[in-house]
Symmetry: C3
C-alpha cells in the first residue's frame, strides 16, 4: 500500500521544544492560539482520535476512531481541538491529513445526544466546543487535507470544508453535505460562510435549503470536494497533495491563507457569545427537541 511508508515511520520521540526553537515564520503566524506550554508530540492518541507525525515529512496523520460513526460529541470535539493545538505548536509539524478508521464513515457530524434533553449549561459548553474546533481548524497555520473515506454529513462536512483540500473516495454510496435542514435545524452562519467560500453563494443556498447530501460524484461536480480517488489510494493521494502544498514557503502560504479566511473567522470571533446564546435558545425550544427526537427514532429504525 502506497501510504505505508508514511504510516511506517511512526515516531514517539518526545523532546519538549522550547518556544525559541520555532522558526521565525511562526512568530508572526496569524491565528496561532496563544499558548499552552508546548507539549511533547510525535505520536499521541486518545479514545477518539489517533495522531502520528512523520518527522521527516512534517506531516501528521490524524485518524478519527470513535465508533460507531465518529459523532462529534463534546468529548470528541475537545480531543480534536487539543490534538490540533498540539500539532500547531509542534515545530516539526507543517501539515495534517485528517481521515477516519471507521469503515464507510468520515464523521456523522454533531452528536445529537448532546443537543437533546440536556440543560442550558450543557448546550452552551457543547456549542463553545464546536466553535473552538472550527476556529482552530479553519484558522490553522498548517496545511490541512481531508481524506474523506466515507460519508460526511453536517458537522463532518464542516470539518472537510474547513481544510485546505478535500479528497474523497470515489464511492457513490458515500455522501457529503450540510443536511441540517433535513433535521429541522439550521446550520449557523459560520457553517454557511465556510460553505459559501468553497462552493459559492448559489450552490450553497440551494444545498442548505434542501439539506442535500451529495453523493461523491456530485460533490466533485459542485466543487464541494476537490477530487475523487479510489478508496485504497486515498491516503497515498492525500500525501502527494500535501507534499505539493508543503513545497511552498510556510510563511507566505500562511499569510495568504489568513488573508483569505480572516473575514469569516473574525465574524464568528466577534459574535461568539451571541452565537452561543442563539444556539441555546433555538435548541431549547420544544418544537426543535421534538424534531431531534423524531430524527433519532428514525435513525434507530433504520438500524434495526
Amino acid at each position: 500500500m502506497a501510504a505505508a511508508p508514511i504510516l511506517a515511520r511512526r515516531i514517539a520521540r518526545s523532546g519538549v521544544l522550547p518556544l525559541c526553537c520555532r522558526p521565525p515564520s511562526w512568530d508572526r503566524a496569524p491565528r496561532q492560539p496563544p499558548g499552552l506550554p508546548l507539549a511533547p508530540c510525535r505520536a499521541f492518541s486518545n479514545n477518539k482520535i489517533q495522531v502520528e507525525l512523520d518527522e521527516s515529512s512534517g506531516v501528521a496523520m490524524m485518524k478519527f476512531k470513535s465508533p460507531p460513526v465518529n459523532s462529534l460529541s463534546l468529548d470528541f470535539l475537545t480531543e480534536f481541538s487539543i490534538s490540533l493545538e498540539k500539532l500547531e505548536n509542534d515545530r516539526a509539524c507543517r501539515g495534517v491529513i485528517i481521515t477516519s478508521t471507521i469503515p464507510k464513515i468520515f464523521s456523522s457530524g454533531l452528536d445529537i445526544m448532546e443537543m437533546c434533553g440536556k440543560n442550558v449549561e450543557h448546550y452552551g459548553e457543547f456549542w463553545r466546543a464546536v466553535q473552538e474546533m472550527w476556529l482552530r481548524l479553519y484558522g490553522s497555520n498548517m496545511v490541512t487535507v481531508a481524506a474523506v473515506n466515507g460519508s460526511s454529513p453536517a458537522g463532518g462536512c464542516l470539518i472537510a470544508l474547513s481544510c485546505d483540500y478535500r479528497i474523497m473516495a470515489e464511492n457513490p454510496k458515500f455522501s457529503i453535505g450540510l443536511n441540517e435542514a433535513q433535521l429541522g435545524i439550521v446550520a449557523p452562519f459560520w457553517f454557511k460562510d465556510t460553505f459559501v467560500n468553497v462552493v459559492g453563494h448559489r450552490i450553497a443556498e440551494r444545498s442548505l435549503q434542501l439539506g442535500s447530501l451529495h453523493p461523491a460524484p456530485e460533490a466533485l461536480k459542485l466543487g464541494l470536494v476537490d477530487e475523487l480517488v479510489p478508496e485504497e489510494k486515498l491516503l497515498e493521494k492525500a500525501s502527494a497533495v500535501m507534499a505539493r502544498w508543503l513545497a511552498l514557503p510556510d510563511h507566505a502560504r500562511q499569510l495568504t491563507k489568513s488573508m483569505m479566511r480572516k473575514a469569516v473567522l473574525d465574524h464568528l470571533v466577534a459574535h461568539r457569545e451571541e452565537d452561543i446564546k442563539n444556539f441555546i435558545n433555538f435548541i431549547s425550544k420544544e418544537s426543535i427537541q421534538k424534531s431531534l427526537r423524531m430524527y433519532m427514532e428514525m435513525l434507530k429504525k433504520k438500524k434495526s
Copy 2:
C-alpha cells in the same frame, strides 16, 4: 398532460383563517410582512395575474396574463405584490410556481411607458412598487419556483432570479438576462446583488456590462437558470421540483433562506428612499428619456 392533476384541483373555497391558525413556524418567520388581515384565498384573479392554490399540495400556481408581453407596469407590480402577500398570509400555501399564459414571453420586464414622459411623483411611485415586488418575492417564506416559459429580459429576469429555483423551456429562441445596459440605463444595485448571488461576480460583471440576453442553453451553462425542459413538461417539472423543496420542514428551510438572502435584502431596505431618489434623478435626465424613446421607436419598428 402531466401537470393536469394539479391544475384540475382548482379550489375556490374561501374560509377566512384566523391568525391563530398559522403554524408556529410562521410566527418566527423572517420577513413576514406585518399583516393585512388574512384574506380568503384559494383562487383569485385580477386583470394581470391569475392564481390558483392546490390545497392538498399547498402549492399555488401564479400565471402572468397581461398581454401583449406581461410588462411590469405600476398596475401589474401592485397586483403582483398583493397576490404574493395573500399567499404569504395563507397558511394553506407553502410554495408558489410562477409562469406566464402569454406565448413566448415570461415577462418583458419593467414597463418603459411608466418611465417615459411622466412626472417625478409617478417615477417615485413606480420605483417604490418595483422595490416592493422584489422585497416580497426575494424575501418570501414560500418556496418560489420560476417556470420560465418564454423570453425574460430585465425585470422579467429579476423575477426569475428572485425565486428559489428556475426552470426554463429549452427553446433557444427564448432568452433571459439583465439587458438594461442595451437600453442605455443601469440595473440598480439590488438587481446586481441578486444576479451576483446566482451567477457569481465575474459572469454578472460581463453580462451586465454587455446587457446580454442569454439564449436558454447559454443561461443554463452560466447557472442563470437551473435546468431546461421541453416546454410542454415545464409545469410538470416545476411541480416535481416544488414537491422536493416542500419535503423539508418549513421552519428550517425558511430560516436558512433568510440567512442566505438577508444581507442583500437589508441593503435595499436600508437605502430604499435613496434608491428611489437616484432612480428619479436618473430617469428624469433628458439624455435617458431620449434613449428610452429611441428604444421604444425601435421596438415599434420591429413589430411592424
Copy 3:
C-alpha cells in the same frame, strides 16, 4: 493578417481637445481621474510602451515593449499610468487593447530589482506606483481587453485580471497566475480582491496559497481567462471582442462597471497609505530580502 486593418490605421494627428468637447457621459464618469490638461494624443510612445489610437473605431492598441520580459519597474509603471491617463482623457478613445511586443511574454510582473536592496523611500515610491497603475486600470472608464500573448505571472496576471476581458494565446507553454507565494511573498489584498472577483473565492484561495502558474488551457477552465485563440489570431479576436463591447452605450456600461468594481477599488483607496507601510515593512525584512535574492539567483541560473 486580420489585425492589419487596425494596425495600418496609425494616426498621429494631435489636435488638443478642449474639455467641453467631451460627451456628456464623461462628465458623470465615475473614477475619472481629476484632470491633467488634456494632452494631444493619437499615437505616442516611450521607452516602455507604444500606443496607437485608431480614430475611426475609438480603440487604442497598447503594446508593452520593455525587454527582456516587460518587468513592471518604477519607470514602466509610471509610463503605463501616464498612457492610461492620456487615453482616458482623450474623447476619441473608448477602449484599449493591451498586449506585448516581446515574444512569449506578456509581462513578468513586478520588477524584483525594485524590491531588493533599495531604501525605504524607494519601496514606498515603487508601491505607490503599483497602486496607481491598478487604480487607473481596474477603474478605467474605457473598455479594456487583455490580449495575453505570452506568460503572465504575478503583476502581469494582475494587469490581465484588471481588464474587462481576457483573451490568451492557446499555447500551453504560456502560463498565468498570481504566483507570489512561490517567491516567499504575499499578494496584497487588492490583488486578492481582483482575483476573487474573477475566479471566485475557492479557486483564488487554492491558487494563491500554491502560487500556481496555470497553463493557458487550465487558466481557461478556471475562468482566469475568457477564451483562448491561436496566437496569430489574438489581435483580430481582441478587436472583434472590443467592437462587441463598444456596441453598448458608453454611459450605461461605465456606470455598470463602476457599480461592479467600486467596493474593491474603494477598499484600496481607503487603506492606501496603510498598504504602502505594510509593503515597506514586509519587504524590508531580512528574511524576505533573502528569499528574493535566492529567487533572483535561481532565475540567473535558469538563463545560463
